[in-house]
Symmetry: C2
Subunit: 302 residues, 2 copies
């Protein structure tokens, strides 16, 4: 199967998996079921589209390491739930206070602040609930599933994504330096892209060299993706020169090109994309999907 066919397959599995885990609620409340309003607000954000990068990475890595896709589907969907809860909470007043996300009103603009807080909490808790239920269905691989959940908890948590968000918030009104910018992107962005790779490898019971290669791959792709995001913002924007020389005026946030200049930021991204590809060498042609995945990300124009 070529890259496009595999990609379409993974995305279709994820979309179906998310809908199966979180079907529409039929009653306002009922013991053992998710209440209707809560369920609707969780589905609103979870099923709003998006590229499904994290769950697709988990399924692709599972596939590469000969893990059954059905067994890996729940952790994949759980990562998308965690990503989605972080967006809902990020958009709240007191955080970024955004009105739009992916062209649609943010969760709290539709359902209110209280329900949006609960929808986020619900998605985070449900991610672990689904993974734990899934783990109990595979007693012969229980240890691998526990390791996968531990990796996801660590990368999503208070030394991972939440740590990155916390330092991001701290620097909202401060001049940011290289160390802070790097910390934020390593943890806020790259950790949640590394989690699916290591989670799949944990289920597969992979050895240390495999885990190290996937860690390098995830971190390189994560930072390169972030630098590229900053560059695309500038290049797709008439007000590019102002942005390229200082703080990102609109969001009040520091960017890689603002800190290093456009040229050096391009060079840094290129070096990271190359590092990502090199880390895949040990997998041979088994990693062709991940290689194509990198090339596709790298070639994107928005």
């Amino acid at each position: 199967m070529n890259y496009e066919a595999k990609n379409a397959l993974y995305i279709a599995r994820v979309e179906a998996g998310l809908r199966a885990l979180l079907p529409e609620a039929q009653a306002v409340w009922e013991d053992g079921k998710i209440p209707q309003g809560l369920c609707e607000s969780m589905r609103y954000s979870l099923l709003a589209g998006g590229k499904r990068v994290r769950p697709v990475l988990l399924l692709a890595t599972a596939d590469m390491l000969n893990v059954d896709l059905q067994e890996a589907l729940c952790p994949a969907c759980a990562l998308e739930m965690i990503h989605t809860y972080s967006l809902i909470h990020d958009d709240l007043p007191g955080m970024d206070d955004d009105d739009l996300r992916r062209g649609k009103p943010t969760n709290h603009r539709v359902y209110g602040v209280g329900p949006a807080i609960l929808a986020g909490d619900g998605l985070l808790n449900f991610a672990f609930e689904c993974m734990l239920q899934n783990a109990m269905r595979y007693p012969q691989h229980l240890e691998g599933h526990v390791r996968a959940m531990a990796v996801i908890a660590a990368r999503a948590g208070v030394t991972g994504m939440i740590a990155g968000q916390s330092i991001d918030l701290l620097y909202e009104h401060r001049q940011m330096d290289e160390a802070a910018l790097s910390y934020i992107h390593r943890h806020k962005t790259a950790d949640l892209l590394t989690a699916p790779l290591l989670a799949a490898a944990s289920i597969a019971g992979s050895d240390e060299p495999t885990l190290r290669a996937l860690e390098t791959f995830g971190q390189s792709v994560g930072i390169a993706f972030q630098i590229q995001d900053d560059l695309l913002d500038i290049e797709g924007d008439a007000a590019s020169l102002g942005k390229a020389t200082g703080m990102d005026a609109e969001r009040g946030k520091m960017t890689w090109p603002a800190l290093y200049g456009v040229r050096r930021a391009h060079d840094m991204a290129d070096a990271l994309w190359s590092q990502a590809l090199a880390s895949l060498d040990i997998f041979g042609e088994q990693a062709d999907y991940l290689r194509a995945f990198v090339q596709n990300l790298r070639a994107r124009r928005a």
Copy 2:
């Protein structure tokens, strides 16, 4: 050991456990460590005292079922983290918008709304991270620990505590009936009191009759505790008569005595306390601590 000595022992273990899991941070940020600001805000609410009812119930049940207390300490502390995150998020603007909690300024009044959202998210995620790390330290009991985490996730989650919070929010400005009040208290309160009992029994590998008895105990104690709370609010308050006949004016929330009258609410609580004690019969004198726990809760005057 008598009740008071055991109780003091369990509380001391929990307090030490929480501080060991979440020590003070030494640097603003550092890879692999919790950032200072995030850590401080998590500690502010987690170490603010309180009766530690949920973790003490877990340790007491573990003790009764011959589970090593050290092995049960992490799930016990995780339950307190989950309880604490729910209080931080409940107090936020958009939820109850409270300025004080246990006589101290609420988390968001001290650290700001954004950091308080992250402190709550952080405690919920950290609860699972700690339990997963702990589970990997006991490979011979891995299945029991996974079952315990699954029980905690279910009772804390979108069909448990969060479901109760969601329906509570839905009825904030509506007339509440018996079914809604019962649903809210069963899930918002009783589920998180049942979780420690079932989690301890899961680690112990207990049989169905044990799980059913502990479920009855937890649900009965949870609702009785809530009815008593409502009654204490009235009886400790000069404006009691007004409250007893309608909505709780101050909090805008329906209460058991408001719905049934003081006398019938007392009768309902008595029946539930008796049911809780009866459910312990199968444990014989092993359950003496839990019996004394019930008598102490029942006799409280605040």
